[in-house]
């Protein structure tokens, strides 16, 4: 549970005032520091999940482990690293952390996510004591464990690294290194990523040391306090603008991948009082049997909070989250306890974030967003390449989907889901060059956006033919439970998995599919749209006409969902 603190401004001991110019210079330097840490990691890491999917976080933390600045690969990583640094401080105790140490863990229940997230921290000393930590988490391609299929506990997911010192007073701990090397499938690449992470941490150390040398420790401290106070003040202003009240909402996931078809409830409660907000996640489902568990509950609340209150506030720091309290009892699917499996931890939290927006919709309709497709919609595809007879592996899908409409804007078409940010799809021309696959189409999914005064964004659809036999597995969700609309807006179409065998289409009722395709067969993946906002009958005819002209909305849907009949030739609305 996050502790609520007394506001810095206007109460208690008067804070020493920082020079505003120095504050701004320090603020820019923190952003530059984490940007350079990111850039070094991306440039020197070995696997593409890090440098193309940006599956990492870098950050600087104060001596207590609070976030000073983090450079995010993915938004959902907003909380995990600070928690990990705090856990390291708790475990070792400050007096046992020494210059030259490098602290490591990948404990899922600490980082909040799967075991692939190895997290390294280097303590930064000034005047003989710890002043900060430079930290880097990155997703390793492999951390051992079973390759395919469902996992039922953490042990089947790979190597667990407890709190260890990877370096101790500047000396490599060979036992730890060898232990890791022996337990991962591509040790050379893993060690390459490990070195890249250490380089990123060292860049952070260098920046903080330069900052201290340039401005002096007292001025830096005063500036950090001020930066956090500014973020906090901004957050308080934003929260204060939300009417006080208790707001609740509910949604559900399709299933946990084990008890197929049995929904998993997500209930959230948001309490707004004055300048403070409490997000209560006690009503989120207990942890589940399948690998969808995480300890990302606080992250969910913070992501939603940042989107609503501080979207443009950088660096991302813990000052901004002081007005936010999270109630999260242990044992929920987003605070899952040992030995719950975590491998596909990222799917559920996106829906939790959307549900928080849904709860707040009655209070601040102009600031929230209707539900989005909320799944990466990926598939593990592999087979033997006819060109060289070797096994090939491809993470298919990742095609982007629809985003929810807002009170004054249509939703975005074909955009990556909330868990990810600057993640790119792969060009079809490249896919065909590398793999025995032929992309038949990659297009917007007409009518998939929820109808509304403001229409939800469209999902996308890809149809891919196997030019040689393939294994195809996907663990998608939100197929049965589509993205919802707000304020009278309709729900969108949900995600969808289908295959075409010998020309015959099979649409699966759910998102968990594990099958083989013969040469000439095809898989079809479709992302959901975004929910609509407001009554569809209020959508202006001219706007709807434009939708029809562009094919975003079909003639049938214009009639069925919006109540307007257009002449198919002239696109003039008919009089009836």
């Amino acid at each position: 549970m996050e502790m609520l603190r007394a506001p810095l401004l206007g109460r208690g001991k008067k804070r020493q005032k920082a020079d505003p110019v120095t504050v701004e210079l320090v603020r820019n330097s923190l952003i530059a520091a984490t940007e350079e840490m990111k850039s070094v990691l991306m440039r020197t890491s070995y696997n593409m999940i890090i440098y193309e999917a940006l599956d990492f976080t870098v950050g600087l933390f104060d001596r207590k482990g609070d976030t000073l600045s983090i450079g995010l690969g993915l938004p959902m990583f907003i909380r995990g690293m600070s928690n990990t640094v705090k856990a390291k401080i708790d475990y070792w105790g400050c007096k046992n952390i020494e210059p030259g140490d490098i602290l490591l863990t990948n404990d899922a229940y600490t980082t909040g996510a799967h075991l692939n997230h190895l997290t390294f921290s280097i303590p930064i000393f000034h005047g003989g004591r710890i002043v900060a930590f430079s930290t880097c988490m990155a997703h390793w391609q492999d951390i051992g464990g079973i390759l395919n299929g469902m996992t039922y506990d953490i042990y089947s997911e790979g190597l667990q690294v407890p709190h260890v010192k990877y370096h101790e007073r500047g000396r490599l701990n060979r036992d730890v290194r060898d232990f890791i090397r022996m337990n991962v499938r591509r040790p050379d690449r893993a060690m390459g990523d490990l070195e890249a992470q250490l380089s990123a941490c060292r860049v952070g150390v260098k920046h903080v040391e330069a900052l201290l040398a340039r401005h002096g420790a007292a001025a830096v401290q005063a500036s950090l306090d001020d930066i956090m106070a500014q973020s906090e003040a901004e957050a308080r202003l934003q929260v204060a603008a939300i009417p006080d009240g208790v707001y609740e909402a509910e949604s559900q996931m399709d299933d946990d991948g084990v008890d197929i078809g049995r929904p998993v409830p997500i209930r959230v409660k948001v309490i707004v009082k004055g300048e403070e907000m409490t997000v209560d996640l006690s009503g989120v489902s207990p942890q589940v049997k399948g690998f969808y568990n995480s300890n990302a509950g606080v992250a969910c609340a913070q992501v939603a909070f940042k989107c609503l209150a501080l979207p443009g506030d950088y660096p991302i720091n813990d000052g901004g989250f002081r007005p936010l309290k999270v109630i999260l009892p242990p044992g929920t699917v987003v605070s899952a306890l040992h030995p719950a499996p975590y491998r596909v931890w990222m799917t559920y939290p996106m829906t939790v974030v959307d549900t928080i927006f849904k709860a707040l919709a009655p209070a601040i309709p102009e600031r929230v967003i209707a539900g989005h497709h909320a799944d990466l919609l990926t598939a593990n595809i592999n087979g033997i390449h006819p060109r060289d007879g070797r096994l090939w592996l491809y993470l298919g899908g990742l095609i982007g989907g629809g985003w929810g409409a807002k009170s004054d804007e249509d939703g975005m078409n074909g955009t990556i889901c909330m868990n990810d940010g600057d993640t790119h799809n792969g060009p079809s021309e490249q896919v065909e060059n590398k793999f025995p696959l032929l992309v038949h189409r990659y297009e917007l999914r007409g009518d998939s956006g929820g109808a509304g005064r403001w229409r939800g964004g469209l999902g996308t659809e890809v149809e891919v033919e196997a030019l040689a036999p393939i294994n195809y597995m996907t663990r998608s969700d939100r197929v049965v439970n589509p993205p919802w609309g707000l304020n009278g807006g309709r729900h969108a179409k949900g995600n969808r998995i289908a295959i075409r065998r010998k020309g015959e289409l099979t649409v699966f009722p759910g998102g968990k599919v594990d099958t083989k395709l013969a040469k000439g067969d095809a898989y079809i993946m479709s992302t959901g749209g975004g929910g609509g906002f407001g009554d569809p009958r209020d959508r202006p005819i001219e706007t709807l006409k434009r939708d029809v002209r562009q094919g975003y909305v079909s003639l049938e849907s214009a009639w069925k969902d919006y109540g307007v009949r257009f002449d198919p030739e002239t696109l003039e609305p008919s009089a009836e």
């Binding site: 505003p20 110019v21 504050v23 701004e24 210079l25 603020r27 820019n28 330097s29 530059a32 350079e36 850039s39 440039r43 020197t44 070995y46 593409m48 440098y51 193309e52 993915l74 938004p75 930066i227 500014q230 973020s231 003040a233 901004e234 202003l237 992501v303 940042k306 989107c307 609503l308 979207p311 600031r367 967003i369 095609i399 975005m412 078409n413 074909g414 955009t415 990556i416 990810d420 940010g421 600057d422 790119h424 799809n425 792969g426 060009p427 079809s428 021309e429 490249q430 060059n433 032929l438 992309v439 038949h440 189409r441 990659y442 297009e443 917007l444 996308t460 562009q550 094919g551 975003y552």
Partner: protein, 690 residues
């Protein structure tokens, strides 16, 4: 009598700059005039007149313009239809699905330049290796033509077929058909602009070309006609985004290639000037009213890249055309300083622009800017801006800074102005880091900051200090430097083709044959341009990656590597570059080629720069114009001598603090800096790093 004059005209958003060079005397003539958006060609005519010269006397007329990029940014281009392979018309709207502004629920994607209703599909399909899976179906092409016809007012048509970089036949056949069917339309196909894989980026490139094409085409014809009317009978060439030149005929087809010609020409000028001065490695720093841009000259060559985003990374449209590698930050003289709701001091990226401009312009602006801070601190003079043509209002600057910054933050006016300058300097230094550290280059290996643009000389010393760069060069006429750079440019043809092949599985002879085919196209372009010189320089590069990686890097490969017996030297170049850029190379891992690149440069005869008059170490009395108090952040007020740049002579030395003033710019020498004037009139400043 053969003409010896070459004229360059650079049309920017605010000013049109003309530089004319007399190749016999070495004399440089300059003219600066406000751009004339209504009819841009008038700005050229006026600028040429202002420089005191005539197009009729020139044998070479070089031109760079913002017309293409403005057409895109203002969304004022043609009505376009896009024709794609069946199943792929939406890739232009879907793009890469990324959401870089991750916490912004109002995040916007790129806005397509052609509506979905005019994105049309035809039946045809090539495989990844260029073989035909489904032939081009003329009936479906006919149907598409019918749809375009029905629309009535389509001005340009762009064509993108999958894998056309491996086999352009379908695209070319479609082009032939559409040109015949729509003789008035501007028809462009992706493979003529880029032969690189990545269908979204290639689509975006060909659509952008169609979008700006009709307007740029008309514009170029208009200038050509106007020049001919003025008696010009020489060669008219355009500046590309690489800073290289191309012919009028090419420019009328490949319009997107001139997108960033102005900024690129500045880097070309830096490259040429560095060559003359014997400087191998330098950073170009170009600061104007709204942005600061940095480029890199390494081992004597300006670094280029193969793609860019027009309109910024978040919502921009990608172009797969070669470009000067330039990093930009939104800090310029017009950048506005403000105090946020929660008490933070911010500088930029909002800019006061040219109108209303900084508060001191007296044009109604009341927001304090970087220029106002410079004025308040004595770094700019009230009565010498643009040679005294424009009076600056010191009181208005002081009032804006006091009311908007100093009072809300409880600072003194000077303290506030100094703070604005320090923050601006820090953010500009990030532009420089953007072109070095982010690319794995060590900024320490670039000991010269070459600074120009109206506001560059004013800030160069502070930026160099921030980055610990020991030397700054301010060229002659820094406010005209892009036009000057055009005079020193070469004819250039960049060719690229995607070829997915493992290095260990391709024959060296085959690789050489592919390059030879590309280079034949480049040589033909040079021949076609009928340059006075036939000296050609060919350079080669390969986009490569380790097998299994997604991301490729461009490796420059010296020609000598191809005359050896094995491919090991190619692999070595790749491993070394990978190590430099990414911290590690893997000589034991196999590599694959993604694309081959070749640049054919037709070396132009270069003008010989005139040397200025020599003088002693002490500047003449005529150069000294006075003295005023200037505030230097972190050090306080100091008495500063002011000098008139035009009166300085080669060999003069000046110790900081001092100000060197000229028509469109002021160079600030900080305490501890020392300056010498070289024989071409460049100000070479040794920065007093403590």
């Amino acid at each position: 009598m053969p003409s010896n004059l070459r004229i360059a005209a650079d049309i920017g958003g605010t000013f049109t700059d003309v530089a004319a060079f007399d190749e016999r005397s070495g004399e440089l003539l300059l003219g600066k005039t406000l751009s004339t958006p209504g009819r841009l060609v008038d700005g050229i005519t006026q600028g040429v007149a202002k420089a005191g010269t005539r197009l009729a006397d020139a044998h070479l007329f070089l031109h760079g313009s913002t017309i293409a990029i403005n057409t895109m940014l203002e969304r004022s281009g043609a009505k376009v239809a896009l024709v794609t392979t069946q199943g792929f018309r939406d890739i232009y709207e879907i793009g890469r699905v990324n959401r870089p502004d991750s916490f912004n629920l109002r995040f916007k994607k790129h806005e397509p330049l052609v509506e979905r209703a005019l994105r049309l599909e035809v039946k045809e399909r090539l495989m990844y290796d260029g073989t035909v899976r489904e032939p081009l179906d003329m009936a479906s092409l006919e149907a598409v033509a019918g749809r375009i016809e029905k629309e009535g007012d389509v001005e340009a048509i762009a064509v993108l077929f999958m894998h056309s970089y491996r086999n352009a036949q379908h695209e070319l056949a479609a082009k032939k058909f559409l040109e015949k069917r729509f003789p008035a339309a501007f028809v462009t196909v992706s493979s003529e602009l880029s032969q690189e894989y990545r269908e979204f980026e290639r689509t975006s490139t060909v659509v952008a070309n169609a979008y700006v094409g009709p307007r740029v085409h008309r514009y170029l014809e208009e200038i050509d006609a106007e020049a001919r009317r003025a008696g010009f009978s020489g060669k008219f060439m355009l500046v590309q985004s690489t800073g290289g030149l191309y012919s009028l005929r090419e420019a009328k087809q490949d319009c997107v290639r001139m997108m960033e010609s102005g900024p690129a020409a500045g880097v070309i000028g830096t490259q040429a000037m560095c060559g003359i001065m014997g400087i191998a490695n330098a950073i170009s720093f170009d600061m104007g009213g709204t942005t600061a841009k940095a480029g890199v000259v390494r081992d004597g060559l300006a670094l280029t890249s193969g793609s860019t985003m027009i309109g910024g990374y978040f919502t921009g449209l990608p172009l797969l055309t070669p470009m000067m590698d330039i990093h930009e930050v939104g800090t310029g003289g017009g950048s506005i300083a403000r105090v946020s709701a929660t008490g933070g001091l911010r500088v930029g990226p909002q800019s006061a622009g040219a109108a209303p401009g900084p508060a001191c312009y007296g044009l109604g602006g009341d927001e304090p800017t970087v220029t106002d801070a410079n004025l308040l601190l004595g770094r700019l003079a009230e009565d010498r801006f643009l040679g005294g043509e424009m009076k600056l209002d010191r009181r208005a600057a002081a009032e804006a800074i006091r009311a908007k910054i100093a009072e809300p933050l409880g600072l003194g006016d000077v303290e506030a102005a100094s703070g604005i300058l320090r923050i601006a300097t820090a953010s500009m230094s990030h532009a420089v880091k953007g072109v070095t550290t982010d690319r794995g280059l060590d900024p320490g290996e670039f000991p010269t900051l070459f600074s120009y643009g109206g506001a560059g000389p004013l800030h160069a010393s502070m930026v160099a200090r921030e980055l610990r760069i020991p030397q700054v060069v301010i060229p002659a006429a820094p406010g005209h430097f892009s036009a000057f750079g055009m005079l020193l440019s070469d004819f250039r043809s960049d060719l690229v083709q995607s070829r997915f092949v493992r290095l260990d599985q391709v024959q060296l002879e085959e690789l050489k044959r592919w390059f030879a085919e590309l280079e034949a196209q480049g040589s033909a372009a040079v021949k076609d341009a009928r340059l006075e010189t036939r000296r050609l320089v060919v350079s080669r590069a390969l986009d490569m990656r380790y097998v299994g990686q997604e991301h490729a890097v461009t490796v420059d490969v010296p020609l000598s590597a191809f005359s050896q017996k094995s491919k090991s030297s190619i692999k070595r170049h790749f491993d070394e570059l990978h190590k430099e850029r990414y911290g590690r190379g893997s000589p034991e891992e196999p590599a694959e080629i993604v694309s081959i690149r070749s640049t054919v440069t037709g070396i132009m005869k270069k003008p010989r720069l005139a040397e200025i008059q020599r003088g002693g170490p002490k500047a003449s009395a005529g150069a000294l114009t006075g003295e005023r108090r200037v505030f230097f952040p972190g050090r306080g007020w100091a008495k500063c001598r002011t000098y008139r740049r035009a009166a300085l002579k080669a060999g003069n030395r000046i110790a900081g603090p001092a100000l060197i003033e000229e028509h469109a710019s002021t160079t600030v020498l900080e305490p501890g800096d020392t300056l010498r004037v070289d024989r071409y009139g460049n100000l070479v400043i040794s920065i007093g790093l403590s």
